[in-house]
């Protein structure tokens, strides 16, 4: 069953149309990735799902229509977005960042348990929990951003180019943790990535978009073997 | 998209302006002269704040320097009025440039605060140097007379000008010259450099723009414009006193450029009309609390035209052009 279903999605910034009718879906419990070059509209797609851009088309989450809903409300429905560039609160401590992640939750009783869980995935955050988030390295900030999203106990996790600016080793580590979270907590993931190689390794299903339209939709494994894709996106 | 026909419109307005003084009497004429004076001052501030992004809450200070320079020259050394104008301008150019140098270290809010402090200090400083400035009482001047050949009954073309009309034309002439000068400067490389510094100083520097030099020079030029306006006002009002040049003047200038439209030459003119006439209208609407009405005007204007009158007109023109071209104009 598709947790998130997007049909005929169009989006624009002011007068400029960026998405020209996208169709894609994220299966419950699955990891879906959207690939494409710079400017293809990947980030806009995530922002559209989150209610941060003006859109038209149908977005259905868990059976109900959410297009036009505000970002703050969507968070309460269980959609967590880790934005491009991390979006950490650099002048707040790691711990405060995490607390804010849980802000939208109704039942805040088990906060301590959530902290423990998150520190288990990312031990380095526990070490640095009193530090200002701005003093963390890029990789640590990315972990903090994902951890913050997890504090929400989301049903759907949106990841916007998590590999940006990070060393490959760090990216591998983060992707490994995302896979663990997906398996153990049944958090569905929609991953937008430029790094096609790593994304296809992680995902179940992949969509290729070019200038605001889906040009290919297939299981990730299939795309990995596809020569044309390899040449176009992986360069060999 | 068709470009806005600036030149024909400007010439048409100029034609109207040339005819006006013969249709208006003393006080109205004086008000229009004052509008032109404000327009020059506002253009000065707009060059600095609108085009170059350096916020100044203290331009009243340069206005005062120009006014007092002119007044002192006319009063003590009998310098002819017209000659005081370039001298005042030059003086303010230097003062502004010198002020621009320490200002390089200050950004946004901090520059605003520094200039605000300057504006507050001006009346005190003027009163302190009594010997030159005449202290709290200021300096009373006599209105400059038109040159002999225009003042006589047998003037050429039968044009006998009153002092008020003469001042109007002088101001108009200075306005045209300074506006054209600014338009040329801002349309070319200089203008682009200024805007580049405003929008992304670091990138501008990286592309080879000498930020420090441009910013200080802009301060100087901006001060010069406002200083010339001040000098003109010394002639038009025929009186200078410290309390006229208080912090409200500087704030009024800021109001003028925001309402008129930042980074717009025409905006300076729109803003000047606003700051000259709207307080009067507010007074007519409510004798008891005129400033409350003025405040309401300010707020409503900002709601309807957040980018000022010039910004609003620009947007309207774009929408009009798009509608004509057939592209559906979207919100």
């Amino acid at each position: 069953m598709a947790l998130l279903k997007v049909e005929r999605l169009e989006a624009q910034y002011g007068w400029i149309k960026v998405l020209h009718g996208l169709d894609f879906a994220v299966e419950e419990g699955g990891i879906t990735t959207i690939l494409g070059a710079n400017g293809a509209g990947k980030t806009t797609t995530l922002r559209a799902v989150c209610g941060m851009v003006k859109t038209s088309g149908a977005i259905t989450f868990d059976g109900r229509r959410i297009d036009g809903t505000s970002t703050e409300t969507l968070v309460r429905l269980g959609i967590a977005h880790v934005p491009e560039g991390r979006g950490t609160f650099v002048n707040l401590t790691v711990e405060e960042n995490l607390r804010l992640g849980a802000y939208a939750r109704r039942e805040r009783a088990n906060l301590a348990a959530d902290f423990a869980r998150v520190y288990q995935y990312f031990p380095v955050l526990n070490e640095r929990r009193r530090q200002l988030a701005g003093t963390l390295s890029g990789g640590e900030q990315q972990m903090l951003a994902v951890a913050r999203a997890l504090m929400l106990r989301p049903r759907l996790l949106l990841l916007d180019e998590p590999s940006l600016g990070l060393a490959p080793m760090v990216v591998r580590e983060i992707f490994r943790i995302v896979r663990t979270i997906n398996k153990e907590e049944r958090v569905s993931v929609l991953l937008v990535e430029q790094n096609a190689l790593m994304a296809l390794n992680l995902a179940d299903h992949a969509y290729l978009i070019e200038t605001g339209q889906v040009v290919r939709s297939a299981p990730a494994a299939e795309l990995q073997k596809d020569d044309a894709i390899r040449r176009a996106y992986l360069g060999y | 998209m068709r470009r806005f026909p600036t030149l024909p419109v400007a010439l048409a307005l100029l034609a109207v302006a040339l005819v006006l003084p013969f249709m208006m009497t003393g006080f109205r004429l004086f008000q229009f002269t004052q509008v032109f004076i404000y327009a020059i001052a506002l253009l000065g501030l707009n060059i600095l704040t609108g085009f170059n992004g350096q916020i100044s809450l203290g331009h009243g200070a340069f206005y005062a320097v120009g006014a007092y320079a002119s007044a002192i020259m006319m009063d003590r050394w009998s310098v002819p009025f017209l000659l005081t104008l370039p001298v005042a301008g030059l003086l303010c150019l230097v003062v502004g440039f010198l002020f621009g140098i320490p200002a390089l270290r200050l950004e946004g809010l901090y520059l605003a605060l520094a200039t605000f402090a300057l504006a507050l200090a001006v009346p005190q400083i003027l009163k302190y140097f009594e010997h030159w400035t005449g202290g709290s009482q200021g300096i009373v001047l006599s209105k400059p007379d038109p040159p002999v050949f225009l003042g006589r009954a047998d003037a050429p073309l039968g044009l006998k000008l009153t002092p008020d009309q003469w001042l109007y034309f002088v101001t108009l002439a200075v306005l045209v010259v300074l506006f054209v000068l600014a338009a040329n400067l801002l349309a070319g490389r200089t203008g682009r450099a200024l805007v580049a510094i405003r929008d992304n100083a670091i990138a501008a520097q990286a592309m080879g723009v000498n930020n420090a030099l441009y910013k200080s020079l802009t301060f100087g030029v901006s001060a010069a414009y406002t200083g010339v306006a001040g000098a003109l006002s010394a002639g038009a009002v025929a009186y200078v006193a410290p309390d006229t040049f208080n912090v409200f003047l500087s704030i009024t200038f800021l109001v003028g450029i925001v309402i008129g439209g930042l980074a717009s030459i025409a905006g300076a003119l729109f803003g000047a009309f606003f700051i000259q006439f709207v307080p009067n209208w507010a007074q007519e609407i409510s004798k008891a609390a005129p400033w409350a009405i003025y405040g309401i005007f300010l707020i409503v204007f900002m709601y309807v035209m957040p980018r000022g009158i010039a910004g609003f007109l620009r947007l309207a023109w774009v929408r009009l052009a798009r509608a004509r071209a057939g592209t559906p104009a979207r919100a």
Binding site: G87, L100, A104 | A121, Q124, A288, W291
Partner: protein
């Protein structure tokens, strides 16, 4: 020596008032990048409302807290109704709206209450308090106390409550805050409400000393600017400390340097602003803005 202590305490009292108003300015600046030029007039207007209630016979402390509540709601409403339409406009546009608000409040206060100065009562006894050999005004000590209580309340609120954390987050990073489900608009409104409340306290503490009139807060606003500049516009605590320093400094200078009368005291505040800006623009406690390229 006694005079020095007296002047220091008196300076701390006025300094607390400057610092409170400076705090209000910094709170809003941190959230919106805009300096609310109408902060002083909002405080003045709140004080006039208090005066109306006192005149109607209400007891002082009831009036005090009622005024705080009204100021809070007023600040909140002003943000939601008057500032919200321009919240995404260029900064100078918002500045003009604040100036408009300033002018409206000043004018309306003058219209309703006239420009004649009115006395405003202090909740503290008239009799001076003697500590050791030194005599202090009870109002001065009381004002310091009230300021401290208000600041303590705010500190606890922002540091230890979730709502306070959310407000800090919304001020620093609105888009990330939205992603956490924080309604940023309402956080801003709350900020304005709290700032107005702090301003009202400042107004009610200063009115007994300078008499109530529509232009009462104008000079104090300038001292508040000096305080916030000295302490740092990015540091709420710094703004308060800045206020205390300015208050004490102003008093000492006024007492010991004979030719500095009221007019020149203002110039001293201005000189202070300029010196701080030239030497260290971000103030004593502020953080220098770091721009990532």
């Amino acid at each position: 020596m006694e005079i020095l202590f007296q002047q220091i305490v008196s300076g701390l009292a006025t300094g607390g008032i400057y610092g409170s108003l400076a705090l209000a300015l910094v709170m809003i600046y941190q959230a919106t990048d805009v300096v609310n030029y109408a902060q002083g007039e909002m405080a003045m207007f709140s004080t006039y409302l208090a005066w109306t209630m006192l005149n109607a016979g209400l007891p002082y402390w009831l009036t005090f807290f009622a005024t705080l509540a009204i100021a809070f709601v007023g600040g909140l409403v002003i943000e939601r109704v008057i500032i919200r339409p321009v919240e995404n406009a260029p900064i100078l546009t918002i500045v003009i709206v604040c100036i408009g608000l300033l002018v409206i409040l000043n004018s309306v206060a003058g219209w309703i209450y006239s420009y004649i100065q009115k006395p405003f009562p202090s909740p503290f006894p008239e009799r001076p308090i003697k500590i050791g050999n030194v005599v202090f005004g009870a109002h001065d000590l009381g004002a310091i106390g009230v300021t401290l209580v208000v600041l303590a309340f705010l500190y606890v609120f922002f540091r230890f409550t979730t709502l306070g954390l959310a407000m800090r987050a919304a001020a620093q990073n609105p888009s990330s805050s939205r992603l956490c489900g924080i309604r940023v608009g309402w956080m801003l409104a709350l900020g304005w409400g709290l700032a107005a409340m702090v301003g009202a306290v400042a107004g009610m503490m200063v009115a007994p000393k300078v008499f109530l009139d529509p232009n009462m807060m104008a000079g104090i606003l300038i001292y508040a600017f000096a305080s916030a500049t000295l302490g740092g516009f990015t540091s709420p605590g710094g703004a308060v400390v800045g206020g205390l320093i300015v208050g004490v400094f102003e008093n000492i200078v006024g007492t010991y340097i004979p030719f500095i009368g009221t007019e020149l005291k203002l110039t001293v505040a201005l000189a202070l602003i300029l010196i701080v800006l030239v030497v260290k623009p971000s103030g004593l406690f502020g953080r220098a803005a770091v721009h990532r390229v």
